[in-house]
Structure formats: structure tokens, C-alpha cells
């Protein structure tokens, strides 16, 4: 399976480990991701929050590039990038006036490429993840965190439901780990206010982390660099305000899948998180010695 790949700005810097882990799991899952040449930033919140057409035109250019470079589908691991690409696709398809204005602005036709979120892609590959899992993560309890832009607004949602999605849980079960049931899965973590209004981020992310801890999660799994930085990078500040501190490792879904596929945790970038993942990794059995990958039988 060949697919276009739109990393987005943060996967080259603050979210490097997301890109690294993605890079090492696509091979075993027989997915070839080809980075779109000369992609630009999708504008995230700042573009559409201040100028509707800008918020659609920037991602539309990426759709056009992907189409020109022969990609029908574009994997957008970052939830915000996925949402903006989907918004551009929908605007061009459903609103001729905006479509015309966009094509005038980007100076080329948008083509027919469509974005797909990483959660959707991994859910579709879940049987393969289960089959290829070398290191089933039996007793690891995982809190799946979707946030907003993976599931809302409803018309851009590419998962199975807006209010009760299960695709992340499907992937987590495929790795052998056990998803816990908790309430804050779809709440907002504070998103783009990470720098400009950190107090809101701390308040919102705290309720999320406390709920995950209350549900007995060993690790919080996310699929969005903004959520990750708010829940991981800001966790120290949250720990000061939450009685009993806070020490839940926050990792990307691709890292969890990588672990299950037996990839080395350094290659997965598990060392790059602010909240140490050491204790969590130590509890994971190494790949079954001596058994070849094919023979591994997963419960």
C-alpha cells in the first residue's frame, strides 16, 4: 500500500518522536509513505481563526501538490493538519464559490487527493498489527485520548463515530494492551493556547490527566502533537497543582504499535518525552527470545 505523507511542522521538531515511530512501523505493516514534496504549513488554528479563505487555501495547496505527485490519499498523523486538509477538501467539494477562490489563490487546481488520519489508517491495519505483534503488551492499561480535531466537526470525522469512537481502542487491543474506559477521551486539552494562555491549558489538561489516572491507566496514548505537548510537556506544571502529583507517560499511538511490533524503544523516540517512559518500558517483556517473528502466536 503506497500513500502520500504530510508530516506537518511539528513532526520535524517538537514531535520528532511521532515521525520517528511512524517511520519504523510502516515497514512491518507493508505501508510505504512518501512525503509530499515542498509541502507547507496547514495554518492550524491561527489561519482559519483569523481568515477563513486562508485557513482553506493553505491546506488546499498541499492537496494540489499531493494530486500532482500522484497520491490519492494523504496520511496526516497530526490531528490539526488532518482536520485542515479535510476542511479544505470539503470546502472545495461542496462550496463552488470557495472552491473557485481557493483555486485562484493557489494558482492551480486542487485535484482529488483526500486526507486520512493515522488513527483511521492503523485501525484499518489492526489485523496486521495483531498478526505481526512480537511483544504483546498484555497487562499494559492504556487510556486512549482523541481530543477534538480527530472527531469534530462531525462532517470532517473519518473515524467510526463522533461521540463514541472506538478506532483507537481497536488499535490498542490489536497490540495486546488493554484500553481502559474513561470519560475525558473527547475533551479539549487547550490546543493552540499552549504558549498564549498556558493557564487554560493547565486547567483543561489537568482534568484529562486526573481522569486517566483515576481510570487506572499506565499510559496515555494520543495522536496529535498539540495534545501531546500540552499533556506531556506541561505535565510538570500540572503535577504541582494536582494533589499526589502526576506521572503518567504520554506517548503516540504509533509508538505503542511500534513497541508491540518489537521495535527498539530508542528508535521509537520514547526517550524524547518529558515524562519519563522508563518505568513503563521496563514492564514490557522483551521480544520472545529465539522465536522467529512469523511463529509468534498472539493471544
Amino acid at each position: 500500500m503506497k500513500i502520500g505523507y504530510f508530516p506537518g511542522c511539528s513532526l520535524h521538531a517538537t514531535a520528532r518522536e511521532y515521525a520517528e515511530s511512524l517511520g519504523v512501523i510502516t515497514g512491518p505493516l507493508d505501508v510505504e509513505i512518501n512525503e509530499i514534496d515542498d509541502w507547507a504549513c496547514c495554518g492550524a488554528t491561527s489561519a482559519h481563526a483569523t481568515n477563513h479563505l486562508l485557513g482553506v487555501a493553505l491546506p488546499a495547496r498541499t492537496l494540489a501538490l499531493a494530486a500532482e505527485q500522484g497520491h490519492e490519499q494523504i496520511l496526516a498523523p497530526c490531528a490539526a493538519c488532518y482536520s485542515r486538509l479535510a476542511a479544505a477538501r470539503r470546502a472545495v467539494d461542496n462550496d463552488p464559490a470557495t472552491g473557485a477562490a481557493v483555486e485562484k489563490a493557489i494558482g492551480r487546481s486542487v485535484g482529488t487527493a483526500r486526507p486520512i488520519s493515522l488513527v483511521r489508517l492503523l485501525a484499518e491495519l489492526a489485523p496486521k498489527v495483531r498478526e505481526k505483534a512480537k511483544r504483546p503488551l498484555e497487562d499494559i492499561k492504556v487510556a486512549c485520548y482523541y481530543g477534538c480535531l480527530l472527531v469534530r466537526p462531525p462532517e470532517l470525522n473519518d473515524l467510526d463515530d463522533v461521540e463514541a469512537p472506538t478506532m483507537m481502542e481497536t488499535v490498542v487491543k490489536a497490540t495486546g494492551a488493554k484500553p481502559v474506559s474513561w470519560n475525558r477521551r473527547l475533551d479539549c486539552c487547550g490546543g493552540g493556547f499552549s504558549l498564549s494562555r498556558t493557564s487554560s491549558v493547565v486547567r483543561l489538561s489537568r482534568t484529562i490527566l486526573e481522569d486517566a489516572r483515576g481510570a487506572g491507566a499506565d499510559v496515555l496514548v494520543v495522536a496529535c502533537p498539540m495534545c501531546h505537548s500540552n499533556l506531556d510537556f506541561r505535565q510538570k506544571a500540572i503535577a504541582r497543582r494536582s494533589e499526589g502529583g502526576m506521572d503518567i507517560p504520554v506517548i503516540y499511538l504509533s509508538q505503542l504499535v511500534g513497541l508491540a511490533l518489537g521495535q527498539d524503544h530508542v528508535a521509537l523516540g520514547l526517550g524524547r518525552h518529558f515524562v519519563s517512559t522508563a518505568s513503563f518500558i521496563s514492564r514490557i517483556p522483551g521480544p520472545r527470545e529465539g522465536e522467529s517473528a512469523a511463529a509468534t502466536e498472539v493471544g
Partner: protein
Amino acid sequence: MSIPESAAPATLAGEVRRKTGLNPATCYQCGKCSAGCPMAVETSLRPHDVLRMLQFDDREQLLSSESIWLCLTCETCTARCPNSCDPARIIDCLRETALNEGAAQPPRNIRAFHNAFLKQIQRSGRLFEMGLIMSYKMRSGALFADVMAAPGMLGRGKLALAPSRIQGLEEIRRIFDACTRHESDSTSTTTAQQNPGTEGAENA
């Protein structure tokens, strides 16, 4: 076709309807959007208050309000609105209108962030986090925020040291110009000095 009074062209609601196709009069003030709004505790105008003021054309108070800038665009209100009024899209449009009419009064940090963010895209096509943080600090004056984090970021290889420029930078500039011009054609007032897109370009 007679458009209901509350959304007549001359009113702000009429303008919102023309730009977004959404009719603020469909909101029957049930409060479900504000019930689910994560920023309701920090704002004076919650989503249903915004719709109410639109229905009664409180133009100045609405466009100059700080609340419309404290929206996380998390789309919870839009996902659960019984009448599909799409408050998120309406609030997006209000911010844009406020900027175009020079009435916008976002909190300094948030204006700084948006401007820094968009200027970064214009400069290199992609976000260069170090550049973003520097540019944000200059504009917001929050010089010491997260300073302690820098070593942690560097140590974990999370800070690219140089921006990665794209070839199609000219295209990006053209997109920004087209979108800003598109703004001035469609808004009643011509001046667009407040729009961050252009401001970023001035003192590149």
C-alpha cells in the same frame, strides 16, 4: 424571498449569513453549546450569548469583545447544537470581521501568537519553532515564559536549529495576498490594516 429581519443584510447577522450561509436566527437559546464549552468558565460571552447578541445586532460590543478570541475552536458547540447553527464557524467569522473592521481586541498574548504564527508561515512556508517562540516573545512581552524549558527541548532534540524553507515560498506569499484582498473585497470597510497576515509582512 424575504430574509427574516434579524438577518437582514445591513445587520451583523446578515453579514454572517452572507459569508457563511448560516442563519443566527435558528438558535433558540437552549444553552447546550455553552454547557459543553471548555472555556465557558473563563469567558463573559459564551457561545449562546454570542448568538443572542448577533440576533439583536449588538455589533460593537460583540466585535470588540475579548471572549470571541478565547475560543479554542474545539467544535464541541457545533457538534452538539440541536439546530446545527454551527457556533464555531460563526465565531470564526466574527473574529475575521472584527479584524477587517479594526474593531478586534484580542488579549495581547493571543494576538501575538497568531501574528507570530502566520508570519512564520510567510517567511519560510513552515513553522520554525525557535523563530515562532522568539517572534511570540517579542510581540507578547512574555520574555521569560518557558525559558527553563529550552535546555529540556534541546536535550531531547526537539528544537530544530534552522528553519526549513520551502521552494514554493512565492506561492505562499501569493496565497496570503489573495486571501487578504479577498477579505477587503467582501467586507464593507476597505481598510484591512489590522489583519495579521499583512502586518506580519510589514516588519518581516
